[in-house]
Symmetry: C2
Subunit: 208 residues, 2 copies
DNA sequence: CGAATTTCATACCAGGCAGTATATAAGAGT
DNA sequence: ACTCTTATATACTGCCTGGTATGAAATTCG
């Protein structure tokens, strides 16, 4: 029998047959970079297999198909690269949360990774996605939005905002700026320009 | 001889041969909608020809190839749909300019047109564009940015901003929010949510 | 009317796409 | 050593892509 390809992890000790000659985690990381740089449709299977260092049958046996591979890459992205979101939510004030998010997003632009948030790129890029991918992207976004909204509601109760400021509105306002940062990073803005966007946003930020 | 396809306009009175059986302007408008909704790579030639109501040879004879067609559609977009940018620059104060842009962008989301700014979508979508297309998109963006920066520098001289606010930074801040609005509109935000983004941005806006 | 010219309609092309069939290689269990 | 099972390598499939060759239709000029 074929073991469940969803597990990705190498089969445990009682393994029969030829062992796999590549590390699925490393391959998935390589695939993530390709999707990140080129988008879902822009990444071809040959490009993916070359970056992953495996052949097509190996890819299909281990990850299913292109759509499943993308979804696993997206999960990995959310888990690893968006750790600063969960960390940022623990900042003591609303402005601290905003600063953590903005600086976290900024840090991601200066590294060696492709520029711009993969989720944003995936959401904007194309309408031809399989519905399941669109649904997953939007559900991830909704979950993040909800977490920020709840955090900002607490911030309002703690007096972080001036009177009359809607926490949910501030949450969407913040995410809009983060998304705009992705667009600008993607279209060639320099790190200095992006940092100026961060400081400007924080300078304007209402409350503490 | 073949008349210059770049002119698009119907040949003038001294025309020999079978007359064209479609309106190039209407066809280009239809093509623009397809590119707008699906992105450059997402729009296939068959999809384009069906939406334009013409056959492939007619398209190629009149518009050149896919890249040239996209560029002409982009020019049309910039000319028609972004009129509110030029109009907005004439607002009396910096905040007035911001409001004009935000409300103009919001109005574009409520109409029947595809959602989100075509330039933003094109800039983010994919790295596989022909270089000329990328160059054109970025040059258009730079021109708009520059116009906003100049307008905001005048606004600073006229005292629209509080002390110490950098006009260029405010310009990029505003465009970031507009780009974020495109992302949110593209990923299913309701008009009401987008309007809240507008009012929030204006409530926070520093100066007049 | 006929000749020249341009557009249109159909069918077609090479190439790239996602995905797979087949055969061989490499390990584990007996 | 032999079988069973799984992974790899090569070659392939059908399909869709952007782009085009060819011939018929429609017009103007002589």
């Amino acid at each position: 029998m074929k073991f469940d390809p969803d597990t990705i992890v190498a089969p445990h000790s009682t393994h029969r047959g030829r062992p796999r000659q590549f590390c699925p985690d490393a391959a998935l990381t390589a695939a993530l970079k390709v999707f990140w740089a080129r988008g879902y449709e822009g990444a071809s299977m040959t490009e993916l297999t070359e970056a992953m260092g495996i052949t097509k049958p190996s890819l299909y046996a281990c990850f299913g198909n292109k759509e499943a591979l993308f979804r696993k890459a997206l999960d990995l992205y959310e888990k690893e690269k968006l750790a600063y979101v969960r960390a940022g939510l623990t900042a003591p004030t609303a402005k601290g949360v905003a600063e953590a998010f903005l600086r976290g997003a900024l840090a991601m632009q200066t590294g060696n990774d492709p520029r711009g948030c993969l989720s944003v790129v995936s959401a904007v890029a194309c309408t031809n996605y399989a519905d399941s991918i669109r649904d997953e992207i939007t559900s991830l976004r909704l979950a993040t939005d909800h977490a920020i909204i709840e955090r900002f509601e607490r911030a309002r109760d703690e007096g972080d905002f001036p009177e009359g400021v809607d926490p949910a509105a501030m949450a969407h306002y913040l995410t809009a700026i983060l998304q705009g940062m992705t667009v600008q990073a993607r279209s060639g803005a320099t790190p200095a320009e992006l940092e100026r966007l961060v400081t400007t946003t924080l300078a304007i930020w209402p409350g503490r």
